[in-house]
Symmetry: C2
Subunit: 308 residues, 2 copies
């Protein structure tokens, strides 16, 4: 019998700044219920699924910034989602803004947690490739993730989810081939990913029609080249005045689109992912032990040119 | 004024074993003339452009094997192509089988040479990712490249071609994200690539309809993720009883198909490649110095699991 994992991608429509956490968590619970009704064993929510994508603004007041962050997970407002997971027996990956007390200081990360079908914490990923800048730059769409977040410091971890090896990635991570390769080398079979991607960028109006292509292309290649299932959840639609693309999807290890969201709102897509397909795809072209040339790839992990 | 390089991809139809080198070189010269007439400044020919794709057979006799190889480049039969380059002022990249006397022994490589518009040798690449096996394997299409070729030992070099930085890659190299990343980190702006790809694989009949998708997907992602122009030439059509896919193409740094061959025969496609597009694409997502995390990628260049 085929080894399978039924995966749900829970795309959300916009989460306006005016929404309360309780309202937003209520939407997520409703999406998890839809996923469960469709037979899903796991669901992935977007990046920053609890709040608006606030890095589109320059904010100075630290208390105002920290209001977008969670200092405990689950916290009083998110506990309900964890309870729903246990009730429905459907785990999830949830993107959110994390405040951590680490190394004797307060640190801010763009984070995704993996939670089991018993509602218990399994593992954490912190976004590695933090895009944007720390100050608004003339001629570019304001995107201040580097103002509000440190780059991740937990590597590219892979966790056991009921016998399936699951990794996570967040938004801009999906554009970098190293993300999928590292997760693959760490043994991932499934990558759960969340993103917030503006439709328009002031710095590249001529490339606007390619935004969805540039969303799917690296994920499809990452799935194919690493023989992984990729399940990616967008926050989509007009959020606090900024249009975000949708295009949430589930991609097979062949690189094929197995399922794709067709709205810019709250929407669940589900696919029963055949994990045996991984070995079939691996066999055709990607016997890593036989064909990779790691001794020839040193430049990829060397810091030359890697600092401003 | 935009900085441009007009690139031709010279796809060839099948080159049967019965063809003489003189006949084959004549076809290549004719393709180079077509490229020149279309305004090309450089042309790329397929992998093994002088012979049939003989690794589809198990051959024991070394003299019979070596008849597919070149011991000098140019040699008596290929000089005519180099002369044509100088006459037409169009350089080229040519895939061929190379016998080298190196380290006190005879060595065999799957090689591509870059030749200038003056007909002079510029640089050499030897295929890094040699696929297949050394002996026929039951249940798989016979593909004995590892019987006949050593893996390349020249790294991922990038050469100056009239002010443009050009790298090369061969066939299976195009499926590995490390190929493009290494060439990009070495400064490539254009990657010239040749391939021979069977339409059908005994080991994966269920994936046969994806062969062209799996041809283009990693090249488009490689172009996008490394903001490179990729120009890829197939040997296509029914060659000595084996169907080879075509799909030769020129891919922009956006990942878009700028031109694509539509036949399985000798065919030239040309595109005036805007090299300034590289900086535009780099600016949007791929400021490597700012965003890459090489210290986090060590596993990619570590030999763990890299040997059978």
């Amino acid at each position: 019998m085929a080894r399978c994992l039924t995966i749900a991608v829970a795309q959300t429509g916009p989460i306006q700044r005016s929404a309360t956490r309780a309202e937003t968590v209520g939407r997520l619970v409703h999406l998890l219920e839809q996923a469960a009704a469709a037979g899903a064993e796991i669901a992935v929510f977007p990046e920053m699924a609890l709040t608006t994508f606030f890095p589109r603004w320059r904010i100075d007041d630290q208390a105002e910034i920290d209001a977008f962050f969670e200092s405990a997970m689950p916290g009083p407002e998110t506990q309900r989602l964890y309870d729903a997971a246990a009730r429905l027996k459907v785990g999830f990956a949830l993107g959110y803004c994390e405040i951590a007390q680490e190394d004797g200081r307060t640190r801010h990360f763009n984070t995704m947690d993996l939670v089991g079908p018993d509602g218990r914490f399994i593992g954490r990923y912190r976004k590695m490739h933090v895009p944007g800048s720390a100050e608004p730059e003339e001629g570019t769409t304001t995107h201040l993730e580097r103002r509000y977040f440190e780059p991740g410091n937990l590597g590219f971890p892979v966790f056991d989810y009921g016998g399936v090896r699951v990794g996570m990635a967040i938004c801009n991570d999906r554009r970098w081939p190293e993300t999928y390769r590292m997760l693959c080398l760490n043994g991932a079979e499934v990558v759960l990913l969340g993103y917030n991607t503006p439709l328009l960028l002031d710095e590249a109006p001529a490339l606007a029609h390619l935004r969805m292509f540039h969303n799917h292309l690296p994920m499809q290649a990452g799935a194919y080249q690493n023989t992984l299932w990729v399940a990616a959840a967008a926050k989509a639609g007009l959020e606090d005045g900024q249009a975000l693309i949708g295009g949430s999807c589930i991609i097979a290890p062949t690189g094929e689109m197995a399922a794709q969201a067709i709205s810019l709102g709250d929407e669940v897509i589900v696919h029963r992912a055949d994990l045996d397909l991984i070995a079939i795809c691996r066999k055709v072209n990607f016997d890593f032990a036989l064909y990779r040339r790691p001794d020839q790839y040193r430049l990829i992990s060397e810091p030359v040119g890697s600092h401003v």
